[in-house]
C-alpha cells in the first residue's frame, strides 16, 4: 500500500545527537504504569533491599514482563503514588568493564525457546510488540514477519541515530540473536535513506553475514511513517489476513544483545531532552526511574510557565515533573513554554515565521524552516468548517472530520463503518485542525469505545493464528 498523508512538524529545539551520561541520582522513582504496560503484580515489599536487575513487579496482562530494578537499594512503596521508589542506591559509579564477546553471534536456533525465556526474564521482551495492537507480543508466538526500525520521526523523541550511536556492532549482533529466534521469517530493517551515515555503517557491518535474512527498507522520512502499524501496512505485511507482525525498535534490539550476549538486563535508557526552552537539547543516558525534576534542574531557560511532556510534541503525555521519574517506555522528555504574552492582531500578521500545513501564511513562500512552538492553541475552538485538512493529513486514509461528526451525534456504528480502528493515533489531525477540535483524542477514545461496545464486525474479524508450538 502506498503511504499517504503525513506531515513533518518542524519545531525549534530538536535534540542534537550528543549523548550525556547522567550520574546515578540519589533515588529512583520508577513509574508502575506506562502507555502500554501496567506492572500491577508487585514482587517486592516495602522496605525490601533489592539488587540491580531484580524483578520489582510484573505486568500480568502482558505475559508477565518484569519491571527491573535499575539499581540496587531499599524499596519504598509508599513514598510516591504509582511508583516504586528505590533509595540508598548502591549503583557502582564505574560499572565493571563488559566482558569480551565475539563480534557476531552464531546462528543458534536450537536454543530459541530458552533464549525467549531469557529475554523475558531480563526485561528485554517488553520491546517486542504486536505491530497491530502495539501491545507486548506473545513470547511463544510465531510472527509472519518482523520489523526492526531505527527511525523515530515524532518531533523531540529520542533519535534513532542517538540510540544506535557507537552501538552498531551491538545492533547487528542483536539482530543476529533475533534471527535465531525465528524460523524463516524476514526481518524488515527500516532505516533512513541509504545515503544516511548510520544506515551505511549498518550495511557495512551486516555485509558478509549471509544467514541474516534482512530486507532493508529505506523510509520516506515523513511523520508518522515510522509508526509500526503503518510500516506493516505499507510493507503489505497484514495483507494475507490476520497475521502477526512483530515490531522491535533499535533500543529493543540492543536490549536483546545485552541479554543474550552478556546475560544482562537493560537498566538504562537513551532518551531525548528537547524543546525550545531547553538550554541544550540533546540525548541523555539515564537509569530507568531517574527523577525528572533532577534531570530538568539547571537545564531549562525558565522555571515557570512550562509544560513537561513524557514523549514527543504530538502524542506525548503531560506529566507532573516534580513527582515522577523516567518510565520504561519513556523515549524523551519534551519541555514547551506555555504562552503568557498576548499578541496584538496576531491573526492579521503576514506570518513569515509561522509554519503551517495550510498555505495561509507568508511562510508558504519559504522552504522548510524550524518554527518556535509553545503549548498555545493558536486559535479558538469552533465547529468544523469542513476545510478537509484533517483528511489530507491523515496517514490512515480515514476521514477524521466525518467520524467527529458521527461521534458528536452518538452514531458509534457509523464511526465504526468509517474504520476508526485504522487510526494509528499520530495526532496530526488535531495538529492541523483550524477549528481546534481535539480529533486525535476523540479518535483514540472512540477506538476503545467501539472495541468495547461493538466488537469487531464480522466481515472484519481478524482470524487469530492458531497458537501452535512452533519453537524449534
Amino acid at each position: 500500500m502506498k503511504p499517504r498523508g503525513g506531515y513533518n512538524v518542524n519545531p525549534i529545539g530538536g535534540p542534537s545527537l550528543d549523548i550525556e551520561k547522567l550520574a546515578p541520582p540519589k533515588m529512583l522513582c520508577i513509574p508502575l504504569s506506562s502507555k502500554h504496560l501496567t506492572f500491577s503484580e508487585l514482587s517486592v515489599a516495602d522496605g525490601d533491599t533489592v539488587t540491580c536487575g531484580q524483578t520489582l513487579a510484573v505486568d500480568p496482562e502482558s505475559f508477565s514482563v518484569p519491571l527491573i530494578a535499575s539499581c540496587g537499594g531499599v524499596v519504598s512503596l509508599t513514598k510516591l503514588d504509582g511508583h516504586i521508589v528505590i533509595e540508598n542506591l548502591s549503583c557502582p559509579s564505574d560499572p565493571a568493564p563488559t566482558p569480551e564477546v565475539p563480534l557476531h553471534a552464531p546462528y543458534d536456533a536450537g536454543h530459541a525457546a530458552e533464549n525467549r525465556q531469557k529475554l523475558l526474564e531480563l526485561g528485554a521482551w517488553r520491546f517486542v510488540s504486536n505491530a497491530r495492537t502495539h501491545k507486548v507480543a506473545d513470547p511463544e508466538g510465531k510472527p509472519s514477519a518482523v520489523i526492526v526500525s531505527i527511525v523515530h520521526l515524532e518531533p523531540f523523541v529520542a533519535h534513532g541515530g542517538a540510540i544506535c550511536k557507537d552501538k552498531v556492532d551491538e545492533l547487528v549482533r542483536g539482530m543476529e540473536h533475533l534471527q535465531s529466534l525465528l524460523e524463516y521469517q524476514t526481518i524488515h530493517l527500516v532505516m533512513p535513506d541509504v545515503k544516511n551515515a548510520l544506515a551505511q555503517k549498518i550495511q557495512e557491518t551486516i555485509r558478509g553475514h549471509a544467514w541474516l535474512k534482512l530486507s532493508e527498507v529505506p523510509l520516506q522520512m515523513r511523520y508518522p511513517f515510522d509508526n509500526q502499524t503503518l510500516l506493516a501496512r505499507h510493507l503489505g505485511l497484514f495483507d494475507k489476513g490476520g497475521e502477526t507482525v512483530w515490531y522491535i525498535p533499535a533500543a529493543g534490539v540492543l536490549a536483546f544483545d545485552n541479554a543474550l550476549s552478556y546475560g544482562q538486563p537493560t537498566t538504562t535508557s537513551r532518551i531525548s531532552l528537547a524543546g525550545p526552552v531547553v538550554k541544550e537539547p540533546k540525548h541523555l543516558e539515564v537509569k530507568i526511574g531517574h527523577p525528572i525534576a533532577d534531570i530538568l534542574d539547571g537545564r531549562l531557560n525558565r522555571d515557570q510557565d512550562v509544560r513537561v511532556i513524557n514523549g514527543g510534541i504530538l502524542t506525548g503525555v503531560q506529566i507532573p515533573a516534580e513527582q515522577t521519574g523516567v518510565g520504561v517506555e519513556c523515549s524523551g522528555i519534551t519541555v514547551l513554554e506555555t504562552p503568557t504574552v498576548r499578541e496584538m492582531f496576531g491573526w492579521l500578521r503576514p506570518g513569515a515565521d509561522r509554519r503551517s500545513f495550510s498555505k495561509c501564511f507568508l511562510s508558504a513562500l519559504k522552504g522548510t524552516f524550524k518554527e518556535n512552538l509553545s503549548t498555545s492553541l493558536r486559535g479558538e475552538g469552533r465547529p468544523c468548517v469542513s476545510c478537509g485538512h484533517c483528511v489530507e493529513v491523515c496517514p490512515a486514509g480515514i476521514m477524521p472530520n466525518l467520524i467527529h461528526k458521527y461521534l458528536f451525534s452518538d452514531e458509534l456504528e457509523l464511526a465504526q463503518k468509517l474504520r476508526t480502528d485504522l487510526c494509528v493515533e499520530c495526532g496530526l489531525c488535531s495538529y492541523v485542525c483550524l477549528s481546534k477540535i481535539d480529533l486525535y483524542d476523540q479518535m483514540a477514545r472512540a477506538k476503545v469505545q467501539i472495541a468495547e461496545e461493538l466488537g469487531q464486525p464480522e466481515d472484519q474479524q481478524v482470524t487469530e493464528e492458531p497458537e501452535t508450538e512452533v519453537l524449534v
Binding site: 495483507d239 503525555v317 495561509c360 478537509g388 476521514m399 496530526l428 492541523v432 477549528s435
Partner: protein, 360 residues
C-alpha cells in the same frame, strides 16, 4: 497597545459570571480575541498546534475578495462603503444575537458573508433592502441550522434569493452605469440608477429579442451593468487565483464547475467559442464559482463529491441561462447544489466505506 490591553482586562470581570454584562460575553470575547491572541492552550495532545485558525482562514477569503471589492468601488462609486457597512452591521447583529442566545462564541463566518453579500447585489439597491436581505440570509440561511459549520445553504445566496423573490423590481433594475478613467467613480456617491429602465445587463441583452453581445473586453474589465462585485472578471480571476494559492478553495470544485459549465454551454450554443467565452465572463459565474460554490460548509466534504457537485452547478447554470426564461442561473444552480451536497456526500462516503472495508 498596552493601554488597550489594560482596558480590556479592566472590562473583563463585568462580562464574566456575576458581572453586569454577562449576556454580552460572546461580543466581548470576540472583540477581545480580535484584538489580542487568546492565551488558550492545547489541553490534550498534540501539545502544540498549527498556526491556522478560523479567523485567519476566513480573512484569506476576504483578502481574495478585495480585488472585486475594489472594482465595485471603482465602477459604482463609494456608496459601496455604506452598503458594505450596513451588510456587516445588520448581519453582525444577528450573529451576535444568536451567539448571546446560544451562549456560544461569535463565529467568524459572517465576516465573509457580510462582504460577499453586497457584492452580489445590484449596486443601486436601497440600503434598507441590503439590511433586510442580509438579516434574512444569516437568520434563515445559517442560524436556524445551528450557525456556521452546520448550515445547509450559503447564507449570502439565501439572502439574495429572498430579495429577488420579494423585490424583483429593484433587484433587476437598480444598476448603476459603470465609471471609467483613472479614478472611475471612486469619488462619486451614486445612489439611484440613471436610465435604469432603458438599460439591461449583458446577459439580459444577450437573451433579448434582438440580442446585443457586449464586447468581451468590457466584460473582462467589468465596465458593464451588473451586480457590484460580479462584473469584473479580471478582479475575480485574481481573487480566485489567490484562493487557489492559499488552498482555501478546492481546485476540485472550481475546476469541475468551470469545465462542466464550458462544455454544457458549448453544447447548447453549438460550439461557438465566442459565445462560450461571453458566458464565462458575464454575470455571476466567476464570483459564484470562486467564492460560493467553494464554501466548504454548504458543499460536500468528500473529494470525489466536490467534482460531482461542481459539475452539477456548472451544468445547471448553463441550462438555466440558455434554456429557461431566467437570464442568470448561478444563484439557483448553487442553491440546488447545496441541496444535493449531502446526497452527493452520502454516495461518496459509501464508496469510501467500501474502499476501506478490506483495509487491514
Amino acid at each position: 497597545m498596552k493601554f488597550l490591553a489594560n482596558l480590556l482586562d479592566k472590562a473583563r470581570p463585568k462580562f464574566e459570571d456575576g458581572g453586569a454584562f454577562r449576556p454580552m460575553k460572546p461580543l466581548f470575547d470576540a472583540i477581545d480575541a480580535f484584538m489580542f491572541n487568546p492565551l488558550s492552550q492545547a489541553k490534550l495532545a498534540p501539545h502544540a498546534r498549527d498556526p491556522l485558525d478560523v479567523k485567519r482562514y476566513m480573512s484569506m477569503v476576504i483578502i481574495a475578495l478585495l480585488p472585486a471589492t475594489f472594482a465595485a468601488f471603482y465602477f459604482y462609486g463609494w456608496r459601496m462603503l455604506p452598503v458594505i457597512m450596513v451588510s456587516y452591521m445588520a448581519g453582525g447583529a444577528v450573529e451576535v444575537l444568536f451567539a448571546v442566545i446560544r451562549k456560544e462564541e461569535i463565529n467568524e463566518g459572517f465576516l465573509v458573508t457580510g462582504l460577499l453579500f453586497p457584492l452580489i447585489l445590484p449596486p443601486g439597491l436601497p440600503l434598507w433592502m441590503v439590511a433586510v436581505g442580509v438579516i434574512f440570509g444569516v437568520l434563515v440561511g445559517k442560524e436556524i441550522f445551528g450557525g456556521t459549520g452546520r448550515n445547509l445553504f450559503n447564507p449570502a445566496l439565501v439572502g439574495r434569493c429572498f430579495l429577488l423573490l420579494s423585490y424583483g423590481g429593484p433587484m433587476g433594475g437598480a444598476w448603476i452605469e459603470p465609471g471609467g478613467g483613472l479614478f472611475g467613480r471612486l469619488f462619486e456617491y451614486k445612489s439611484v440608477a440613471v436610465d435604469a429602465v432603458s438599460q439591461a445587463t449583458p446577459l439580459a441583452q444577450a437573451a433579448a429579442e434582438t440580442p446585443v453581445i457586449t464586447p468581451l473586453g468590457d466584460l473582462f474589465f467589468g465596465n458593464v451593468l451588473g451586480c457590484a462585485g460580479e462584473t469584473s472578471a479580471l478582479a475575480l480571476i485574481l481573487g480566485g487565483v489567490l484562493l487557489l494559492l492559499f488552498r482555501v478553495a478546492s481546485w476540485r470544485t472550481i475546476g469541475s464547475t468551470l469545465i462542466a459549465f464550458g462544455l454544457m454551454t458549448a453544447l447548447l450554443v453549438g460550439g461557438d467559442i465566442n459565445t462560450v467565452l461571453f458566458h464565462y465572463l458575464a454575470g455571476g459565474l466567476l464570483l459564484g464559482t470562486f467564492f460560493m460554490a467553494t464554501d466548504p460548509v454548504s458543499g460536500p466534504s468528500t473529494n470525489g463529491g466536490k467534482f460531482v457537485y461542481g459539475a452539477l452547478i456548472g451544468v445547471a447554470t448553463a441550462l438555466i441561462r440558455l434554456k429557461t426564461p431566467l437570464v442568470e442561473g448561478m444563484m439557483f444552480a448553487i442553491l440546488t447544489g447545496n441541496m444535493f451536497a449531502p446526497i452527493i456526500d452520502e454516495v461518496f462516503i459509501a464508496l469510501h466505506v467500501r474502499r476501506l472495508q478490506n483495509e487491514k
